[in-house]
Symmetry: C2
Subunit: 332 residues, 2 copies
Amino acid sequence: MNLDWNKTFQKILKSNKIALATHVHPDGDAYGSLLGMWHLLKNNGSNVTAFVDHTNHNGKYSFLPGYSELIEISQDNHEMYDLAVTLDCGDKGRVTGSEWLFSHSRQVINIDHHYSNPMFGHENIVDDRISSTCELLWKLSVDSKINISKEAATCLFTGIMTDTGNFLYENTSPETYRSTADLVEKGADSETVKFHLYHNKPLANIQFLGFLIQQMQVLLDGKVIILNISREILDNYGVSYEDLDEFVAFARDIKGVEVSALLKEMKDGNIKISLRSKSYFDVSELAQQFNGGGHQRAAGAVSPVDMEKTREQLKNLLEIYFQEKYYDNWNT
Amino acid sequence: MNLDWNKTFQKILKSNKIALATHVHPDGDAYGSLLGMWHLLKNNGSNVTAFVDHTNHNGKYSFLPGYSELIEISQDNHEMYDLAVTLDCGDKGRVTGSEWLFSHSRQVINIDHHYSNPMFGHENIVDDRISSTCELLWKLSVDSKINISKEAATCLFTGIMTDTGNFLYENTSPETYRSTADLVEKGADSETVKFHLYHNKPLANIQFLGFLIQQMQVLLDGKVIILNISREILDNYGVSYEDLDEFVAFARDIKGVEVSALLKEMKDGNIKISLRSKSYFDVSELAQQFNGGGHQRAAGAVSPVDMEKTREQLKNLLEIYFQEKYYDNWNT
């Protein structure tokens, strides 16, 4: 553990009037680290408020202890905070109500695990080798010997599970498993978390999955799967936007598939492209061809032409990449 | 750790000419513990042979190091072994080639984690509180301070993952996560294991899943899902028998579902019933009505009447159980 980080973490523990925030469109690690930190600080006797933007959220994480205490940022709030702590925010623009928050806090501490984090805080605790912001908070807590309550443990456990895809992503390290062991020992309600994340899937999502499987297009000798979803279909099944990511990942997990693409018609008629790859194809490069971006194994873009044309463009590009850049992989 | 177990484990390490065996229809913990033990003993300089019955197996675990060294038991084999070690076998009858094995070994040591194990060995290392036989072997190795090679670590890691449903089952303890951390640190090839278990699903299985979703029957206010599979359908999709378990579990994971049932027409025309429950329904009791059995959350039976009649009987029984025994759960 970096000694400076420990100092910075001690500074948080000693601060009066702390504001916490995570990124917009919060996922499990966002809610988990926000609420985990909130519990750690409450337990420490701090005066702390946690801000969130629930917009477009389906309440998937409302089971987390403390969820009902989360506050939506309002421009009518004229409080000043000694310290703002941002959690799991890869850049300043992603922070919930960032303008308001930064102008209402005397200092900002940035705790995160994203590779490209530009260190936008006055002090920064950023480690991109760690699975999740929740694992980082666990480490900071253990190193500073503060008490991790049951509630904090449940929140941190949740973020580790979701950001590692239940320990299946490559970011899972021995330390990730160890942190989980420790959190469960400290009373994390792992059964409740597992129930809400894995054993409580909406029937509509499963029926939608059935529909997607029936109409999935297997291309290029089984190396590519394309799924298209019209606005009508999405409305019919009532599947939420944030659940779509699961479906593109599921197609990538089929034997022989290297790239899966999900094309979704948006309200403005543009097509949102989500891309995933399994082991060698750099989909961020492909996304750039549509003015998008992302990571090697997960990327996205928005196409201004219709579904049929987008599909054709994508198909042609994939064919070229496989024939040229990935010719050797193609033939193995 | 039980001191007697340690003594027994030392005895194995000191034996000459050891035969290892696991249960028929081996799963991940069976192959993992069999091959994990084989590597531990090879590394220890022991003279060891691992026996297996691959019958009806689709080679899902053929990626495990040492798989090609596994030997099918043959009646023509007249060797005598000083010691047979059975791994992951809940009773004597489940041991691969048990008659041959028991009559060709001077002593039997039984290493297992099943609740109902009748302690059929001359010595027994059985702990039903542990997730898997692989986790037990890890513990025995660590306590006896023997070296766990990369290959052994990969095999043990595999059994822990499969027997805990990738850490989602209730048998997952803090020690389970810790053993996994340690095995990955010792060089377990976790990425290869994850690839073969989770990122390499046969297209036929996914298409079959799509079919099942389209035809699943949601009954009793969404508390029950029944899936029926005719012989014809199973042949058409080319899905292997051992993959079917996944499908009945997936239906149980839908929101509001308490019981999922999969009815499969067998070659002899009988119907195999697989039952799963989520949180309160004792499906072993239901299975007993069809002269079957099992555990509270997973049970099975064989019905001698046709699909339609079996389905009706099952539906009626479920209705009675929910209205009588589970009336309080039903209404919450």
